[in-house]
Subunit: 363 residues, 2 copies
């Protein structure tokens, strides 16, 4: 077995204003890196081979010059882009991880990553994948740990179950509903006995929502001249729970259609990430927050990491028995990662966008 | 004793657009009304003589044509304006109220009001007022039941203690801080061991905040060209709790200055009540709700009526021992009520705006 390998890397070339373009990023051919720890790394380091990388909307604010509010530090021009992924451990001085282990968590957009403390706390050992538990059960693909079994899944679970506190029979609206988080929230809402409607940006996605993910109804927001009227049509009695992924005009329309004591989990504002401060959509209907006694609650997944084992135990049976459908949009090769990420902001992905970086010889 | 009296009434003449003006209301001379129930009223009715009326910002949305979102039904042109007040019961078939009792609650802008079920559920019998409990204790004026001991006080208590969940040492910002609710929230925050800053619209009010109500700091928002910078100066470490009374540009500036896991109690949006739908200030910084995991919670006092006895028991000792300062702005005579109400929206009041309608012969 080789002791070194070529490590290609995707770097941010410069801070982004407006929509990100491929020229904002660059794939560097990279040099040879050792496939074992050299011994001079910080104690607890983990050397991994990246197998899958996740493309997530939250990465966009990190590409802006860091005066913009963001809950994670901005990327540094010239440095490798970081994000969630699935990887094979090649070498480790971390007490909980050994060579050969599979992990999901924060890694780099490169072939091989050295993960050092404290970032190693975001690595989670993968114990369930591949062959299913029993007959008639579906296998759990490794790539799912970039999504339904990773950060995306925990985001949907925490946002819906912890933040929205759904009750059976309540009405739920999900925006960006065919996306990585939205498709899960809609299905979790059905499991919880709610009536759920989703919005998406194409006919194809609306069909997916209704026919694959089991939403009770769905609409294409691009074909609705009046979003408030579309919501009134779908929810004549109003909305109890809004799972917010987009922001802007949709939020304003939702505020007019919420029911008394409604809850809004603010998960993402993808419609706003590429706008400059002065350009961002105005929200003008906040008076509804008082008149309807609404709760808007922002959240991010890292605050709720401790719920992952509970979530994984809850969701695995639904994956294995086919209750949950899950759609991935897989780009192939590290070189395709920038384009895949950019596509999110134009709605080009159908389902969870991820990048397959390498074959795992052990698979 | 007379068996009838003249009942003057203040009616809404027409729906209001923009700022309310005196000509939107009218004082009708009125006719003779009996001072006893006639017997044909619904069971449980209460006839009262109004002593004090409260002018509150929430009354403005009720003056608009009712397509606008409001948590209470709109006023009806030609009908008497309703609002909170303090009154003497003249006659009653309500099991909990008898002639001679003093009450606070929903009544009419007139000399005498017939309160019928279900509105009678908003009448609360006044049991503490006048002479204090012991030596060195201050008396509790009856007018306080339009404010600190009425709806205003319960609003401040619920909003601060139930919605904001303050912890000792946290930082608190209150807008419209010298107003009826704001002056109480600031003082409740000091009692809770918080650092509290208020904003108001004149030098005189800023002085009141610092010297009478014990705010740690205060600023005149009209003299601050950059509200976000003013907040940064007052809260270099950020704001844990924002008690929102105004909305618009102030909310946008606050969002930029909140700390992680901050709470915003949305009590009122007085800056927005006189604006048409298209004119309302844009809130553009909602991205902070995610990055800082903020909770915005709207609330109204009627949902929390059951907490009134708990609140009254908590607040009375602080009033009697002088811990709490309380400033009222008293207009005299029913005829002055429209102007007093209008003044709220121009910041003309200093402290709680109320109207003294009549002397209470029993006082």
């Amino acid at each position: 077995m080789a002791t070194t390998a070529t490590n290609r890397r995707v770097i941010l070339k410069e801070y982004v204003e407006g929509y990100p373009r491929e020229e904002h990023m660059e794939l560097l051919p990279g040099g040879e890196v050792p496939l074992r720890l050299k011994g001079d790394e910080p104690a607890g380091s983990v050397l991994v081979k990246n197998l899958y990388l996740s493309c997530d909307p939250y990465m966009r604010p990190k590409m802006s010059r860091p005066l913009r509010e963001s809950y994670t530090a901005a990327f540094v021009p010239g440095s490798v882009i970081t994000g969630y992924g699935v990887a094979r451990v090649l070498d480790s001085t971390h007490p909980g991880l050994a060579a050969g282990d599979l992990v999901w968590g924060l890694t780099g957009w490169e072939d091989y990553s050295l993960v050092t403390p404290p970032a190693t706390k975001f690595l989670v050992k993968i114990t369930h994948h591949g062959d299913p538990a029993g007959e008639g059960q579906r296998p759990v693909p490794l790539s799912y740990y970039t999504g339904i079994l990773g950060m995306t899944g925990l985001t949907a679970y925490v946002g819906f179950h912890e933040i929205c506190e759904p009750k059976k029979g309540e009405t739920v609206f999900v925006s960006a509903a065919s996306g990585a988080v939205g498709q899960l929230v809609g299905q979790f809402a059905k499991i919880a006995g709610c009536y759920v409607v989703g919005s998406a940006g194409s006919k194809e996605k609306v069909e997916l929502l209704k026919n694959k993910f089991g939403f009770d109804d769905a609409f294409n927001y691009k074909e609705e001249p009046d979003l408030a009227a579309a919501l009134r049509r779908c929810f004549p009695e109003g909305i109890d729970i809004y799972f917010e992924n987009v922001g802007g005009a949709m939020l304003d329309a939702v505020l007019l259609n919420m029911r008394v004591h409604g809850r809004i989990a603010v998960c993402g504002l993808i419609s706003q990430y590429n706008l400059a401060d002065g350009e961002r959509d105005a929200v003008r209907n906040l008076a509804a927050v008082i008149s309807k006694r609404l709760r808007l609650q922002g959240f991010i997944e890292p605050d709720h990491k401790h719920l992952y084992p509970q979530y994984e135990a809850w969701v695995l049976p639904y994956i294995r028995d086919g209750t949950l459908a899950y759609v991935e949009d897989v780009a192939h090769g590290l070189e395709s990662a920038p384009k895949a990420l950019i596509g999110l902001f134009h709605g080009r992905n159908v389902g969870k966008q991820l990048v397959r970086v390498a074959d795992d010889e052990s698979e």
